[in-house]
C-alpha cells in the first residue's frame, strides 16, 4: 500500500490556511473525546488513540511543515493533468462548510498510521474510467457513453462495494470471526442487502452464466 500521508495533511492545511502545527494540547483533548466515537472502527483503535494523541499530533505536524511546498506543487500538477477523482484531495474548500472541514482536519490529525493508510485507500481507490467506459459500452451496446455517466456509475459502484464490505464486516462481528473477509461472509452480506432492497432486481432471470 502507498505510504504518502502528506497529500491529505497538506490538502487540509492548504485549504484552511492555518499554520501546520496543531492547536494546543488542552484543546485537542477536549475536542477529541466526542470525535473518537466517530473515528474508531474497532475498540482497539479507540483505546490506543487516547494515550497516543499527543505523540501522533506532534509527529504529524512536523512532516507537514517540511513537505509543504513540494506537496503543493504536486497537487497543482495533479489538478491540471489528471481528470481522476484524486484531485478531490486538493479541492475540499469552498463548497463544504468550514465547520465540517475543521472537524475533518481535527480528526485526520489524530489518525494513527493504519487509519491514515486505510483512509487514503478509501479516498484514492476507484474504478478506472477507461475500464468502466468499456464495460458500459459493452453492456449498452451503444458507443455514446459520456464522461459524467462514467463518473456517476463509478461512484455508485464504489459505494455499493462499500455497503458490501461493511455489511460483511457486520456479519463477521456477529459470528465473532476475524481476519480477512471470506466469500461466505460476502454472500451473506449480499443476501442481506437483497432483503433490504438495495440490489436492483432482474425482471427477467439471468439464464446463461
Amino acid at each position: 500500500m502507498k505510504k504518502s500521508k502528506d497529500p491529505f495533511e497538506i490538502a487540509f492545511e492548504e485549504q484552511d490556511e492555518s499554520p501546520p502545527e496543531s492547536p494546543t494540547g488542552p484543546d485537542e483533548n477536549e475536542a477529541q473525546t466526542p470525535l473518537t466515537l466517530d473515528v474508531s472502527g474497532d475498540d482497539d483503535i479507540s483505546n490506543n488513540l487516547r494515550p497516543a494523541v499527543p505523540s501522533t499530533s506532534a509527529a504529524a505536524s512536523i512532516p507537514v511543515g517540511t513537505a509543504g511546498p513540494t506537496g503543493k506543487s504536486k497537487e497543482e500538477d495533479e489538478e491540471e493533468e489528471e481528470e481522476n477523482m484524486d484531485v478531490e484531495l486538493g479541492k475540499l474548500p469552498s463548497s463544504g462548510d468550514p465547520d465540517k472541514t475543521a472537524i475533518m482536519q481535527t480528526i485526520l490529525s489524530q489518525f494513527t498510521e493504519g487509519q491514515m493508510s486505510r483512509y487514503e485507500s478509501f479516498r484514492r481507490s476507484g474504478f478506472q474510467k477507461s475500464n468502466m467506459k468499456r464495460l458500459l459500452t459493452s453492456i449498452t451496446g451503444s458507443a455514446k457513453i459520456s464522461m459524467p455517466m462514467t463518473i456517476v456509475v463509478s461512484g455508485i459502484a464504489k459505494m455499493f462495494v462499500g455497503e458490501l464490505v461493511e455489511t460483511a464486516r457486520i456479519v463477521m462481528a456477529e459470528r465473532k470471526e476475524s481476519g480477512p473477509i471470506r466469500p461466505c461472509h460476502m454472500r451473506e452480506a449480499y443476501r442481506r442487502l437483497k432483503l433490504e432492497g438495495k440490489i436492483p432486481k432482474r425482471s427477467v432471470p439471468r439464464l446463461f452464466r
Binding site: 472502527g41 491540471e80 481528470e83 477523482m85 484531485v87 478531490e88 463548497s95 493508510s117 486505510r118 483512509y119 485507500s121 478509501f122 479516498r123 484514492r124 481507490s125 476507484g126 474504478f127 478506472q128 475500464n131 468499456r134 464495460l135 458500459l136 459500452t137 459493452s138 453492456i139 449498452t140 451496446g141 455514446k144 459520456s146 464522461m147 459524467p148 455517466m149 463518473i151 456517476v152 456509475v153 461512484g155 455508485i156 459502484a157 464504489k158 459505494m159 462495494v161 462499500g162 458490501l164 464490505v165 461493511e166 460483511a168 480477512p180 473477509i181 471470506r182 466469500p183 460476502m186 438495495k198 440490489i199 436492483p200 432486481k201 432482474r202 427477467v204 439471468r206 446463461f208 452464466r209
Partner: protein, 127 residues
C-alpha cells in the same frame, strides 16, 4: 478446462441485448482497484483473492442490472442519459448525494481547466 469455464462465465449470451462489441472480460478485470477499495472500506490490507473475485462478479452484475434498468427508463425518451442513473438511485440518498457531489466537482474541474487554458493563451500571446 479454463477455456470452457472462462467462456461460460464471461460471455453473457442469455440477455436480450444487441450483439456486444468484442469485449470479453478476463478474470480480474477490476481486481487491482477492488483490492484497494475493499481495504479502504474495512477489509484486510490483503483481501482474499476469492473474496475479490466474488465482489467483482457481484459488482459487474449490479452495474449490468443498473444499466438495464436505466435503459428501460431511457427508452421512453430515446437516449441514455446521466439523469436516468440519478433517477434510479433517487431513493438511496447517500448515493444520490455522492453522485451530485461528483458531478458538481466535475463541472468545477472543467471550469478550472478552461480558465487555465485561457490563462496560458494569454501568457503565450504576451510573450
Amino acid at each position: 478446462m479454463n477455456a470452457s469455464a472462462g467462456l461460460s462465465s464471461k460471455v453473457r449470451v442469455g440477455s436480450s441485448q444487441p450483439p456486444e462489441s468484442s469485449f470479453k472480460r478476463k478474470r480480474g478485470f477490476f481486481q487491482k482497484d477492488l483490492q484497494h477499495m475493499m481495504y479502504g472500506f474495512g477489509d484486510d490490507p490483503n483481501p482474499l483473492p476469492e473474496t475479490v473475485a466474488l465482489v467483482e462478479d457481484v459488482v459487474l452484475e449490479y452495474v449490468t442490472d443498473m444499466v438495464h434498468k436505466a435503459q428501460d427508463t431511457a427508452s421512453k425518451r430515446g437516449k441514455l442519459l446521466t439523469e436516468d442513473f440519478l433517477f434510479l438511485i433517487r431513493k438511496d440518498s447517500p448515493k444520490l448525494n455522492r453522485c451530485t457531489e461528483l458531478l458538481s466537482m466535475n463541472e468545477e474541474l472543467k471550469q478550472a481547466r478552461k480558465a487555465f487554458e485561457v490563462d496560458e493563451e494569454k501568457l503565450s500571446s504576451i510573450e
